[in-house]
C-alpha cells in the first residue's frame, strides 16, 4: 500500500508543471478583481451581515493576492486578522445600527457626493504615487523560499529595531485601557461601591 502510494505520487510529481510566473500574474489580477468587486458590493447590499462579510471576502482576496506575490506570511495573516476583525466588527455593526440591520433597504454611504470625491481623489493620488515613485530595484533575486521573507520580517522586527515593539506595546496597553473604560458601562466602582468592598451596593464580587 505504502509502496504503491509512493510510486504513484512520484509519477504525479514528475509531471512538469506549467510556468508559474504567468499563472501568478493571472491569479493576482483575478484576485484583485474579486477584491474590488466584493468591496464594491459592500455598498450595494441591504444587510449588515452581508456587508460585513463581503468586506471580509474582499480582504481575503487581497490576502490571497499577497500570497500569490510570494509573501506567504503577510497574505495569510491578512486573512487571519481580517476574518477575526470582521467577525467582531459584524457584531458591533449589527448592534449599533440605527435601524434593522438585515431586512430593510439600507445605504452604507454617508454624504455620498463628498465620499465619492474623497475616494476618487485618494485613489488617484495613490495610483499616481505608485507610478511616479522611483522604486528601488532589488540587487538579488527574491528568495525562492517564501519562508525566508517571513524570517526577514521577524529579523526586521526583532533585530535592530527594538523601537517597533517598544512603541507598540504602550499603544496597545492604552488601547485596552481606553477601550475598556469606554465600553465598560459598569466599572469596578459602580459594581462594588466607593470602598470597592461590594458592601455599599448589592451585586458584589462574584
Amino acid at each position: 500500500m505504502s509502496l504503491a502510494f509512493n510510486e504513484l505520487s512520484s509519477v504525479v510529481l514528475e509531471t512538469p508543471l506549467p510556468d508559474l510566473s504567468v499563472l501568478r500574474g493571472v491569479a493576482v489580477t483575478a484576485l484583485g478583481v474579486v477584491a474590488v468587486v466584493t468591496g464594491a458590493l459592500v455598498f450595494r447590499v441591504d444587510s449588515m451581515a452581508r456587508a460585513t462579510y463581503l468586506l471580509a471576502a474582499s480582504f481575503v482576496a487581497v490576502g490571497a493576492a499577497v500570497v500569490a506575490l510570494h509573501l506567504d506570511y503577510v497574505g495569510v495573516v491578512v486573512v487571519l486578522m481580517m476574518l477575526m476583525e470582521m467577525a467582531v466588527m459584524g457584531v458591533f455593526m449589527v448592534m449599533l445600527m440605527g435601524m434593522n440591520p438585515a431586512l430593510m433597504p439600507m445605504s452604507m454611504v454617508h454624504s455620498g457626493r463628498r465620499a465619492l470625491a474623497a475616494a476618487g481623489t485618494s485613489f488617484v493620488v495613490l495610483t499616481v504615487g505608485i507610478l511616479l515613485v522611483d522604486w528601488p530595484t532589488r540587487p538579488d533575486a527574491p528568495p525562492s523560499d517564501p519562508g525566508a521573507t517571513t524570517y526577514s520580517l521577524g529579523d526586521a522586527l526583532m533585530g535592530d529595531h527594538m523601537l517597533v515593539m517598544m512603541v507598540v506595546s504602550p499603544v496597545m496597553l492604552a488601547t485596552i485601557v481606553a477601550g475598556v473604560v469606554l465600553a465598560q458601562a459598569h466599572g469596578r466602582y459602580e459594581r462594588l461601591g466607593d470602598d470597592l468592598r461590594g458592601t455599599s451596593r448589592q451585586g458584589g464580587r462574584r
Binding site: V12, A49, Y73, A87, V91, P146, G147
Partner: protein
C-alpha cells in the same frame, strides 16, 4: 523522518476520504458511548452515523421565512470544507497536500474561519435560537482563541519554523508534548472549542435547543454535522505534527503512525468531551483570560528560553 514531499492536487481525494471516514468514526464512537451510558448495546449506537446519514439524506431540506439564504449556504458549505483546509497542511508521513511555509498560521486562519461559519449559521435562518447560538459562540471565541494561538506558536518556536513539516521533523526522539504539555492541553481545549460540540458548545447545546442547528434539516444538517466531526478530527490531526512527533515511531511507516496518532487523540477528545458538562461562555471567558492565556504564555516563555539556551 526525511523531508516532506508535496503531493499533487488529486491526492486531495484521498485526504477527503480519510477525513470523511474519521468523521464517521467520531460519530460512531459518540454513538457507542451514548448507547453504553444508556445501557443499550454499544454496537447499535455505533451504527448511529450511518443511520443518521440515511435519515438526513432522506429528510427534506427546509429553510425559514425571510432567511438569508446566501449566508446560510456559505455557512453550511463552509462547515464541510473547513476541516479539509486544515488537514491540507498536515503531513501524512512524508507527503503533504500543501507544504505551505506558514502552515501553522494557515491552520490558525482556518480555525478563525470557524467563527465566521458558526456566526453565519446562526444569522442565516432568521430564527431566535440560531441567532443566540451564533452569538454565544463568538463570546466563547473571545476566550479560547488567544490561548490557542499562543499554544500553536510554542512548537513553532522550538522548531524555528512555521512550516508544519519542519515542526514535525524538529522533534526527533522527543515529541514536543513531553516538554510543552501545557501548550498541548491548551491546544486541545481550543480544538474542543472550535469543533462546536461537547463541553464548549455554546453554539449548539441542548440548553439553547441546539442553537445554530435548530433550523437545519436534510443535507444542510448533514453537512454541518459532518463538518463539526471533521473539525475535531482535523484538530487532532494537526496536533500530530505539532506535538506528537508527526510520523515518527517504531516499526510502522510514518503515514500509518500519523493515522494511528490522529485516531487515538480523536478518540480521547471524544471521550473527554462526553465526560464534561457544558461550560457556559461566561464562565469560560474568565477561565480563558485568567488561566489559559497566562498558562500558554508561561509555556511559551519556557520554550523560548530553552530554545535560546540550546542555540
Amino acid at each position: 523522518m526525511g523531508e516532506v514531499v508535496q503531493v499533487a492536487a488529486p491526492w486531495v481525494l484521498l485526504a477527503a476520504l480519510l477525513l470523511g471516514m474519521a468523521a464517521l468514526g467520531v460519530a460512531a464512537l459518540d454513538g457507542a458511548l451514548a448507547a453504553r451510558a444508556a445501557c443499550r448495546p454499544a454496537s447499535v449506537g455505533a451504527q448511529h452515523p450511518l443511520v443518521e446519514t440515511a435519515r438526513l439524506l432522506r429528510q427534506r431540506r427546509r429553510t425559514t421565512v425571510a432567511a438569508d439564504t446566501l449566508l446560510r449556504h456559505v455557512a453550511v458549505g463552509g462547515f464541510a470544507v473547513a476541516p479539509l483546509l486544515m488537514v491540507a497542511v498536515v503531513p501524512l508521513g512524508e507527503w503533504v497536500l500543501a507544504d505551505a511555509s506558514v502552515g501553522v498560521v494557515w491552520f490558525n486562519a482556518v480555525d478563525v474561519l470557524v467563527w465566521v461559519l458558526v456566526w453565519l449559521a446562526g444569522w442565516g435562518p432568521n430564527a431566535a435560537w440560531s441567532l443566540t447560538g451564533g452569538y454565544r459562540f463568538l463570546a466563547q471565541a473571545m476566550a479560547y482563541e488567544l490561548p490557542l494561538m499562543f499554544a500553536l506558536t510554542a512548537p513553532a518556536v522550538a522548531a524555528g519554523s512555521l512550516r508544519v513539516g519542519d515542526v514535525a521533523g524538529g522533534q526527533q526522539g522527543l515529541p514536543y508534548v513531553v516538554w510543552m504539555p501545557v501548550a498541548f492541553l491548551v491546544y486541545c481545549v481550543g480544538v474542543l472549542a472550535f469543533s462546536v460540540r461537547g463541553p464548549l458548545s455554546p453554539a449548539g447545546g441542548p440548553v439553547i435547543s441546539s442553537g445554530v442547528l435548530a433550523e437545519l434539516s436534510g443535507v444542510d444538517r448533514l453537512l454541518v454535522l459532518a463538518g463539526r466531526a471533521g473539525l475535531l478530527v482535523a484538530g487532532a490531526a494537526f496536533a500530530v505534527p505539532l506535538f506528537l512527533g508527526g510520523g515518527s515511531g517504531p516499526l510502522l511507516p510514518g503515514w500509518l503512525w500519523v493515522l494511528v496518532k490522529t485516531a487515538l487523540l480523536t478518540a480521547a477528545l471524544v471521550v473527554v468531551r462526553r465526560r464534561l458538562p457544558d461550560v457556559r461562555p461566561e464562565r469560560f471567558l474568565a477561565l480563558g483570560w485568567t488561566v489559559l492565556l497566562p498558562a500558554a504564555l508561561l509555556q511559551l516563555l519556557v520554550v523560548s528560553v530553552v530554545v535560546v539556551v540550546r542555540s
